[in-house]
Amino acid sequence: MKTILHSDCNNFYASVECVYDPTLRDKPVAVCGDPAERHGIILAKNELAKKRGIKTGETIGSAREKCPELTLLPPCGERYVRFSRILRDMYAEYSSQVEPFGLDESWLAIDGGPQEGMELASTLRRRAREKLGITLSIGVSFNKIFAKLGSDMHKPDATTVISTENFREKVWPLPVGELLFIGRSAAQKLNAYGLRTIGDIARANQAALHDILGKNGDTLYDYAAGRDAAPVLALDQADDIKSVGNSTTPAFDIADSLDAQRVVYMLCDSVAERMRKQRVRCTTVTVWLRKTDLSGSTHQMKLPRPTDLSLELSLAALRLLRQVWTGQPLRSLGVQGSGLIFEDDRRIQLSALPDPPAQRAVLLEKTADQLHGRFGKSALFRAILLTGDQRKALQYAADSSLSAANMAAIHRREM
């Protein structure tokens, strides 16, 4: 018999910051992005800030109105990654089936019933408090979906068991939006059909759900009834990547085609380099746009052949952009390669005919990888990033991981 745990670090970023500075523990604290970089939203808050109504995703201005004495801290990614790694190593002492879900959540599968699950949950919570000074909420159940619901139910520092005997009583009264993978728009659609609780979904006609939400309706029907049978992946399986992408929200709007080209080339350079490092090629490219009114759209196209070249990704992404972008200023832009094929996969069919331009592109990009590895990104970069606008130049430098000092020096020489 398998029991599944879902472990969720409480207020993760804020909790880690309070470990590094214990004087913050008795104050409302939030970790936020940099408003000057147009990332000025709350990323995480501690319990005291939560009690004052601070919500993740709200603007700093709105948070300050609710709580003028709120302490705001910039994020320190290295710390969060380190804590996350220590936790995963700890989970791995108890199970080889540990599936991370972001930095602060993981599923674990163990042999045994709910009692063994509860005992392990207590052990993990105690060890996280002692080892890291942070608290966990853990759900214990017979499937991943209910285990995650359990960890959401009681916070902070709690264990919740959802069993085959009690799930109708604990889970079914919850609103549909609480179920994993039901976002705001799906919840609204379900509500419009009178399906307001998870129990309503479980009791609904499956064919009707399929009509409302398509294949996802079938999946949610099983989730709601406790029939999710997805296994918790083993540690090495959980690392298999499905896509490689990058996006940016520059400090200025992307207002003309030249800026858009620069951003696309930068993003594709980064995506292609990472694909080559991971020895994968993509067969589909996706571009997503967000306008200044925060509405967004996603567009995809299949590539004529698998690629790990920035040139081919960029050309495809720019072609997509020309088809869908009507020129209104964009707040952010992203590019992603998916439909990945691994290097040793025989589906990568080599062309029988020589292709000198493609071969030159391969040579150029692999040479660039070597130069970057030896001398840093500033050793070789696209001339299109040089611009008379100092602010834009610094943004492109930051997004391309170029040295800002080097960019400034090149600027002074070239402009």
């Binding site: 470990v19 590094y20 214990p22 004087t23 380190r82 804590f83 002692e130 080892k131 000074g133 942070i134």
Partner: protein
């Protein structure tokens, strides 16, 4: 209120890679560590930071010695109060 006081440490690195602190220097005074009672990952709950915590004994005095993720060694001290092992 507590603070982190960084100290220099002499340590033994054995062939298995284990680290055993054998003395620490605090405000110019060197103290031999008589016993390392245990060590484990722990958060320094008074002065902050997370790292490897060594429970050590200097004479009759038992205290914690921490090594943070940047490999620096520190002890937790009350602010504005000089706490010297053995006092």
């Amino acid at each position: 209120m507590f603070r982190r006081t960084y100290v220099s440490v002499d340590a033994l690195f054995d062939e298995a890679g284990r680290i055993t602190p054998i003395s620490l220097s605090l405000r110019g005074q060197r103290y031999g560590i008589d016993q390392v009672i245990c060590h484990r990952q722990a958060a320094a709950t008074k002065a902050g930071v997370q790292g490897m915590r060594y429970t050590i004994r200097i004479g009759e005095h038992e205290t914690y010695l921490f090594q943070d993720e940047k490999q620096r060694w520190f002890v937790e001290e009350k602010e504005n109060v000089r706490q010297i092992p053995g006092d």
